[in-house]
């Protein structure tokens, strides 16, 4: 046998946990792109809220990452 795959099953759980935040982050920035296309001068105002929302949504993925490392 050339290579043996070993590891923790919780990493697969992290992969699943990253799905939701992935969709959430995509929706946030899709809304920002839409808004910028409609009203370019409002970009900076939207960007602050978007980054903050992105940080909150991404928290779930980050918690998943931590739990994946805990065996």
């Amino acid at each position: 046998m050339l290579m043996e795959i070993t590891g923790s099953l919780s990493v697969i759980g992290y992969g699943l946990a990253a799905l939701g935040p992935g969709i959430g982050v995509a929706m946030i920035f899709a809304a920002v792109i839409n808004g910028t296309a409609r009203q370019p001068e409002a970009r900076s105002a939207m960007m602050g809220t978007a980054i903050f929302g992105f940080a909150i949504v991404e928290a779930l993925a980050i918690l998943g990452f931590v739990l994946a490392l805990i065996k």
């Binding site: 043996e4 960007m47 602050g48 980054i51 903050f52 992105f54 991404e58 980050i62 918690l63 931590v66």
Partner: protein, 262 residues
Amino acid sequence: MTSGWIPMDGGGFTPPSTEDFNFSGLMNGAAWLNKPMLQLVISVILIAVVFVWGSRNLQIVPGKRQWTFEFLYDYIRNTVGRDVIGRDYQKWMPLLFPMFLLIIVNNWFGEFFYFMFPTFSNIGYVYGLVILVFVLFIGVGIKAHGIAYFKLATAPADVPKLLWIIIIPLEILSTFVVRPVTLSVRLFANMFAGHMSVLVFIGGGTYLLTYANNILFNVSGGLSWVLGMAIIGLELFIGYLQAYVFTILTAQYIASSINVGH
């Protein structure tokens, strides 16, 4: 770290692990002086020297050098300071701009010759920064509102009293637990995972490329190196993005402590 990456050495492939992120001391009797610590010291000296040089004899009509440094400063001042903190943002710039520089330089060390290791993929270094931010935004809130800051931050006044049973624990959790945890783990996890994927592609590629008498393995090893270079390019972008997000969240937390309850 390099053992097991060349097939002729004998033995199978050892995938990169968290062991690759541990460094022993560079000098005898000084175990604390390891590679990440040295990188952090070098980055501070580098930033200080470059920016002292960049801000020498300033003129009203800027030259090329002054224009470049003003462009860098204006980028953080306008998008982080003015847009996020708003009024009285000037007094926070001495914190925000060096914080951005420190994080971006240390992240880019992961792609830089001689260093090739992002300092903040060791979580202890991130904890240092986050403790500073955590103490700072609570301190700013107490300075602006006195001890009532904790009440304003955890019990919004315009919510029905009955809902406070749910809101107060949630707000305590989100402000004083989730904020510092996510702020530290976000930077750490991005740097750690990025460096790990570079190790997988370059290390695994080396193993396949040097495998004897198997042309398919050698070709796929070469392809893996090409993809590894692309990932290094992606890492440069992520290093910038995480530095920017960390700075903008610091500004956001400070702003939310000043304007708490609004």
